[in-house]
Amino acid sequence: MTPIEQFFYNLEHTDLSMWVRGPSLLVFPVIVSFHTLGMGFLAGTSAGIDFRILGVAKRVPLSALQKFYPIMWAALVINFISGTLLLIGYPWKAVTNPDFYVKLSMIALGVYLMVKIRQQVLNQPDLSDDKIQRHAKLLAWLSLGAWGGAILAGRLLAYTYTWLEVGVRGGF
C-alpha cells in the first residue's frame, strides 16, 4: 500500500466513515436526501434568477432577487456538510474518480457566478446599457451551464468510479 492509499484506508476505517457507510436507514439515506434537497434549491433558485436575467418575468425587480440569496447560501452549506460526510464515507471512491473533480469545478464556477451576478447584475441600479446587458446574459448562461454540468457530473459519479474503497474495486 502506498502512503496515500494508507491514509485513505485509515480514513475509511474511522468511526465516522464507517457510520456514514453503515446499514442504518437513518444515516446514508438521510444524508443523500439532504444533498439532493440542497442541490434542488441551490441550482433551482439560481436558475430562476438566471431566467429573469435572460428576459423571462421582466417585471421582477432585479435588486429584490438578492433576497433569495440566503436560501441559496443555506442550501450550499447543507450540501457542503452532507457532501463532506459522503466524502468521508467513500473517500477513495471519490478521489480516484476524475468526474469528482469535474463536479467540484462546476460547483465552484456556479458559486463564483452566483456572487458575480449579485455584484454585477442584481446590484446594478442601471442596466440599460447594451454592453452591460450582454455581459449579464453571458453570466446567466454560464451559470445555467455550470449548474447543469454539476448535476450531470454529480449523477454520473454513481456510474464512473473504478474503486469503491482502497483495495476494493467498483463495478466499472
Partner: protein, 173 residues
C-alpha cells in the same frame, strides 16, 4: 401490499410487454444515467421556480409582486413534465422495483396532495388575490397556507424519490 408476489401480476406482465419497457431494458446502460440526470435537472427547475413563488407568498423578497414571479412557473411545469416522462420510463423499465416499494406510494401520496393544493390555489379566490398583490404587500393567510403546503409537499416528493433505492424489493439489493 409491498410484498412482491412469487409470480408477476397481470399489470406487471402488461408493462413488460410494452415497447417502452423493452427500450429502457435494452438501452438502460446509457439511457438510465441520462434519464436520472434529466430527472434531477427537472426537479431543480420545479423546486427552484415553484419554491421562489411559494417563498414570496410566504413573505420573502416582498419587493417582488408575486404575479411577476409567477412568470417563472412555466419552467417549473416544464421540469415536472420532464420528470413525469422520465418517471414513467423508470417505472416501465423495472416496474416491480417501484410498485412493491413503500417509498413509491408515499411519493405518489405527496404528489396527489400537491396536485390538490394546486387545484385549490387556482380555483379558489387565492390566486386572484395573490395576482392582485403589489410589491411590498403581505399575502392573505389562506394563500400562505397553500404556499407552505406546496413547499412541504415538493420537498417530501423529492425525499421519497431519493429514498426509493433504499426501500426497493430485496431482489434489487
Amino acid at each position: 401490499m409491498f410484498e412482491e408476489p412469487e409470480f408477476p401480476a397481470a399489470w406487471e406482465l402488461w408493462v413488460r410487454s410494452t415497447f417502452l419497457h423493452q427500450f429502457v431494458a435494452d438501452q438502460g446502460q446509457w439511457l438510465w444515467p441520462v434519464m436520472e440526470t434529466l430527472h434531477y435537472l427537472g426537479l431543480s427547475l420545479l423546486l427552484g421556480t415553484v419554491g421562489m413563488f411559494d417563498l414570496r407568498v410566504l413573505g420573502m423578497a416582498k419587493g417582488i409582486p408575486p404575479e411577476a414571479l409567477h412568470k417563472l412557473i412555466p419552467f417549473g411545469i416544464a421540469g415536472f413534465a420532464v420528470n413525469f416522462l422520465t418517471g414513467i420510463s423508470f417505472f416501465s423499465g423495472f416496474p416491480e422495483q417501484y410498485f412493491y416499494n413503500p417509498s413509491f406510494w408515499w411519493k405518489g401520496t405527496f404528489m396527489a396532495i400537491a396536485a390538490m393544493n394546486v387545484a385549490v390555489f387556482y380555483l379558489s379566490p387565492s390566486f386572484q388575490q395573490v395576482k392582485a398583490m403589489p410589491a411590498g404587500s403581505d399575502a392573505p393567510f389562506r394563500a400562505k397556507v397553500i404556499a407552505g403546503t406546496s413547499l412541504l409537499c415538493w420537498i417530501s416528493v423529492l425525499v421519497c424519490g431519493r429514498l426509493l433505492t433504499f426501500f426497493r424489493p430485496p431482489v434489487f439489493h
